[in-house]
């Protein structure tokens, strides 16, 4: 009876901003939300995260851009986007008209390009910026910033100086020491980090005996990468104090909970949206049910709780 009266609190605070719940789409899997509005109530999500936006239109890579893998998929879209002007004109008014928090993902090939986008977004009705220094599908810039701690520090610092909104830096898993990159972003002034972006992979078509993707390599996502992503979130959580958004193969509420226990204050759902456009609603519902059954007042109590347990055992 008592658990029925009290509704567990799903809201989380991220860099001082309160979100209804910790569940949001991963950039690039959700457009700017419009395509999904036929399938779900966008206002039920913790936040909407846009497709990467660059300082001018990017055409993206040739096709084929996708290959399914066991429990995952490879993509080589290459950050196709119509540019910041188009975003401000077409997408932002739409997002603003919905009662939801908005995070704009920023794409660029150089520090100057990132800064131009962030400058154009100054004082716009946007709640967060997510700096994509981890896309494996563009040749220069992108992932190069995310795989070198010093470059990650430099780009974070310069972009942060131009930003009027909290800055989340999205990290690449294609590194040997995720802790070093995470620390560099924190030192550069990031308000949070999100990880992981896709893992670099490939597929060869045995009929043509050539790489299947036109771009040869692509980013691997989906349930197949979840253990790797979880490990990296857990490691990063030990290294930084700024909030972490967990990403990588999350398709159920149990997955989301694992990331929260590993130290994520919020989670992003990506590839799972392609299998089920309503999956994020199921995850939110599952988390709420879990809190109720376990008699936990709020989800924030669980952030990083997986660490304390392990340390307890070690003692």
């Amino acid at each position: 009876m008592s658990s029925r009266e009290k509704r567990p609190k799903l809201a989380v605070k991220l860099a001082g901003v309160e979100l209804k719940n910790p569940v949001m789409p991963a950039s690039g899997t959700f457009g700017s939300g419009k395509e999904y509005e036929a399938y779900l109530d966008l206002e039920k999500l913790g936040m909407i995260v846009t497709k990467g936006v660059a300082d001018r239109p990017w055409k993206g890579n040739p096709t084929p851009r996708v290959a399914e893998t066991h429990g995952g998929m490879l993509n080589s879209v290459g950050l196709q986007n119509p540019g910041i002007e188009h975003f401000l004109r077409e997408d932002l008014p739409f997002l603003q008209s919905r009662n939801t928090k908005t995070m704009v993902n920023i794409a660029g090939r150089s520090i100057e390009e990132y800064v131009r986008v962030v400058t154009a977004l100054q004082r716009q009705p946007v709640d967060f910026l997510e700096l994509n220094i981890s896309c494996p599908n563009i040749k220069e810039g992108g992932v190069a910033f995310g795989t070198d701690a010093d470059m990650a520090y430099q780009v974070t610092k310069k972009v942060k100086a131009a930003a009027t909104q909290p800055l989340i830096v999205k990290l690449s898993p294609n590194v040997t020491d995720i802790g070093a990159v995470a620390r560099a972003c924190e030192a550069g002034g990031a308000d949070g980090i999100s990880l992981i972006n896709t893992l670099l992979g490939m597929k060869i078509d045995i009929k043509t005996r050539r790489p299947l993707l036109a771009n040869t390599f692509g980013g691997l996502s989906g349930p197949a990468i979840k253990p790797v992503a979880l490990r990296m979130v857990y490691q990063a959580a030990k290294e930084v104090k700024i909030p972490i958004i967990g990403i990588g193969g999350i398709s159920t509420w149990e997955d989301a909970l694992e990331f929260i226990l590993a130290g994520a204050a919020a989670v992003q759902v990506g590839t799972a949206n392609f299998r089920n456009p309503r999956v994020m609603l199921q995850i939110i519902e599952g988390l709420e049910n879990y809190l109720r059954t376990e008699n936990i007042d709020g989800i924030e109590e669980l952030i990083g709780a997986g660490h304390e347990l392990q340390e307890g055992i070690q003692c």
Binding site: G28, T29, F30, G31, E35, Y36, A38, Y39, L40, D41, K51, P57, K59, G60, P62, T63, P64, R65, V66, A67, E68, H70, G71, G72, M73, N75, V77, Q80, G222, P223, T271, N273, F274, R275, N276, P277, R278
Partner: protein, 258 residues
């Protein structure tokens, strides 16, 4: 507004039509305003196969609430579909994408299909009111020629192996007669679509092409299934548009083949 969702459909029929070609009849209840050229997403039961398979709609029976789909076995996902039995259920979403435009003023219509691109032209032929001639190309065995005969004035078949109809392609069929239709609709392999586009342009005949590309979401979000579309008078004014959402049907003059 009621939200769209993945639903369960009951399989009424699932049988081989030819080597690697199957037909499935799905009872979905409400087919919606499905138009020819649209497709449905079918989802695998095996969770390791994440992505939906986009299958074009061959026929719609609104009254019965059924779709007839024809699919080719191209990998493990479609292979899984062949194992489904009558009365089993499958997850589906749709109808998706844009369809062909149904121009009622057209008097002479030419439908050109190749291989597994032939099925969506059947529902189109049923809905168009003008006089329809249908040119179909296959590697070996034809499909659906009997169905087309019921709704079209003429059905001609070409096979590259010569086992049925004339030996050659639909382009050889086009040369056999004087065709001057008001409009052309076409669906099939890229090489064929490019040849159809060029043929139509030389004669100044409007044409619509249904494109195919590897998809992920099927609802316009992921940007993997793009094709090059000319958006202005300058050939440099092109962008990758989404086959699943902006298409699969495009005006032939906009489609840029590489």
């Amino acid at each position: 507004m009621e939200k769209k969702n993945i639903n369960k459909a009951r399989i009424l029929k699932n049988e081989a039509l030819g080597p690697e070609i199957y037909q499935m009849v799905l009872e979905v209840g409400d087919t919606g305003e499905a138009v020819p050229g649209q497709f449905v997403n079918l989802y695998c039961k095996d969770g390791a196969r994440l992505l939906p398979r986009a299958i074009s709609i061959c026929e719609v029976d609104r009254k019965a609430g059924t779709f007839r789909l024809i699919y080719k076995v191209l990998g493990r996902g479609t292979e899984e579909f062949t194992q489904l039995k009558e009365n089993e259920e499958i997850d589906w979403l749709g109808p998706l994408g844009s369809g062909f435009t149904l121009n009622t003023e057209d008097r002479e219509i030419l439908l050109i299909g190749g291989g597994v691109g032939v099925p969506p032209l059947l529902e189109l032929a049923k809905r168009l009111t003008g006089k329809k001639r249908v040119l179909l190309g296959f590697e070996n065995e034809s499909i659906l020629t009997g169905d087309f005969s019921k709704v079209a004035a003429e059905v001609a078949v070409a096979t590259t192996s010569g086992t049925e109809g004339i030996k050659g392609t639909v382009m050889d069929l086009l040369e056999q007669k004087e065709y001057l239709p008001d409009r052309i609709y076409s669906c099939g392999p890229k090489g064929m679509l490019k040849a159809v586009k060029d043929w139509a342009r030389e004669r100044n005949i409007p044409a619509e092409l249904s494109m195919e590309e590897r998809m992920a979401c099927g609802i316009g979000a992921c940007l993997v299934c793009t094709c090059k579309i000319n958006e202005g008078p300058d050939p440099r004014d092109w962008n990758y548009q989404r086959v699943c959402k902006d298409g699969p049907v495009f005006n032939a003059e906009e489609v840029m083949f590489e």
